[in-house]
Symmetry: C2
Subunit: 321 residues, 2 copies
């Protein structure tokens, strides 16, 4: 429920731009690093490291989410999660979010309240706040989020530092969101474990800074699929990556869903996007930080292979392709 549930039958055109901004900002508790929150021309955030990490992602209704498959609060959480996991993938901790919302004038204020409620939930779980934003009218509901983060003195971990001989490791879940999407696509609403994973990912936020502190040589968040995103690391680093399926856990739950749907659960793990896991490379001699598990090795050469061979199967999802 919104801050004033007696007004929940209203539309955004009825409360207007400034009324809407009031609704989504009033009564929220900003973290200490928010030196100036919403309501002015711009926000001011602490950047104690002297550098700021920044990323932006845009989510469009019917392209990235559907309200018949996800509740507005879940969409809000996911929109924030995909941005925060990019911050984590640099080895940084999130500090604040800016939210641009374009929505049809007949959208209900309750929808907007729930979207922002979800955004705040996900942000506060990592100590960040929604520090600013913009709301405008449009024909399609579009959420654009910018996340900012602080490196806390660590060097950013890019995609470009992997070296032959490094260990490839992942933190977080793989394939769960793809399994949930497959279930929803068949018209089912359960098992809840995988459908819920598609609706709201659970990025291993803390694993990013841990990897940076633990000597990770390269890191990426898995948004398009493990093989596709490791492909970015391989290309940026000028190396090859060999994923070893003997090291790659395919959870029992996914095997069951795959079996029920006649689908290959391992394929979800290798290519499914949107779980916002993290993948990183570490020196072979390094002990993997908590939450990380080895799944392969960095090799000379280029590209990503599975057990030494090119992977047969559709690759990660790409816009417009």
């Amino acid at each position: 429920m919104g801050p004033d549930s007696s007004q929940d039958a209203q539309t955004v055109s009825q409360v207007g731009e400034f009324g809407l901004i009031d609704r989504v900002t009033t009564g929220r508790e900003q973290p200490a690093g928010t030196l100036l929150g919403p309501g002015d021309d711009a926000a001011v955030l602490a950047a104690p490291d002297g550098r700021v990490v920044a990323t932006t992602d845009v989510l469009v209704e019917q392209v990235h989410f559907r309200f018949d498959w996800s509740a507005p609060r879940q969409v809000g959480r996911k929109a924030v999660a995909v941005n925060l996991s990019d911050i984590a993938a640099m080895g940084a901790v999130p500090t604040g979010l800016l939210v641009g919302l374009a929505c049809p004038p007949d959208s209900s204020t309750e929808l907007v309240d729930e979207l922002f409620g979800g955004m705040w939930e996900e942000a506060q779980a990592v100590g960040a706040g929604v520090v600013g934003g913009d709301v405008v009218s449009a024909t399609a509901l579009t959420i654009s989020i910018t996340a900012l983060g602080d490196l806390q003195g660590r060097e950013p971990v890019t995609r470009a530092g992997a070296r032959p001989g490094d260990v490839v490791a992942v933190a977080g879940r793989l394939g769960w969101s793809a399994a949930g999407l497959a279930v929803l696509g068949r018209g089912f609403r359960s098992p809840v474990a995988v459908v819920g994973a598609h609706r709201v990912p659970e990025p291993p936020y803390a694993a990013g800074p841990l990897a940076a502190a633990g000597g990770a040589t390269a890191m990426v968040d898995v948004s398009d699929g493990l093989l596709a995103d490791l492909g970015h690391v391989a290309a940026a680093s000028g190396v090859g990556i060999d994923v070893r399926t003997e090291q790659l856990d395919v959870p029992q739950r996914l095997l069951e869903v795959g079996s029920a749907l006649g689908a290959d659960a391992r394929h979800w793990v290798l290519t499914g996007g949107e779980d916002q896991a993290l993948a990183a490379t570490f020196p072979a001699e390094a002990a993997l930080p908590e939450g990380w598990r080895a799944i392969g090795a960095v090799t000379a050469g280029g590209g990503v292979v599975v057990d030494g061979a090119e992977y047969e199967g559709p690759s990660g999802w790409q816009h417009w392709r």
Copy 2:
């Protein structure tokens, strides 16, 4: 023309997400403060002040701009300008921009090249770079921009510091964009001076930091109209503002256009938005910084009046109202 004009007949769906990102990032020169530019999970920007100023604005085709009235390069420049002027209004200097572009799959790559070309033009004029972004497919073209800035050791100038007795001053143009919009709305394409002002504002970027250094007590950028935006200062500061028309210059060019259209040019100056002028309050004893001119006074009480009386006429533009 884009970086590869031989491909200009292509659509964004033909080049795909990653092809498009390559087109709009390749060959651009980042300023020194861009420690890590586009191509990774997130960008890293210098934040030498230890604080970062951040603002976001969303522009939707047919709501905020029309391609039959503005060229894509002009839309790109304006989209960046409205964000950078928010940074200036805090007394900060811009450091970087993140761009979210949602566009239909059949958009031409030339359109996207021109949009980003305009964004870069406007950004580089103030020493900032486009450091990151996201491109996604959508039914309507939507541009969301986040601008970041550095305070260079100054305190941010909010809307809340105006005190009775302060001088109200502005920097930059007022009413020009509204005049241009009126001309375009009548089906004309000239005079170029006002039509051009509507297509691409000329925010007085440098005046923001100058005002902060010169003791401004409150500041706002004029995006919705002078009276409307001064209203935000009055409300946030708990003061009244009296705009004195004897001090308010109505340019000869606007008088001519107003006369030709049978419109009141002074009304454009008082209520026209989108010129991205800056309005600020200064202690009465302070010398106004370069580029600033006095237009009124801060009073006890509340609200904004013109020559001591409530202004009769439509107020600034608001979404959905």
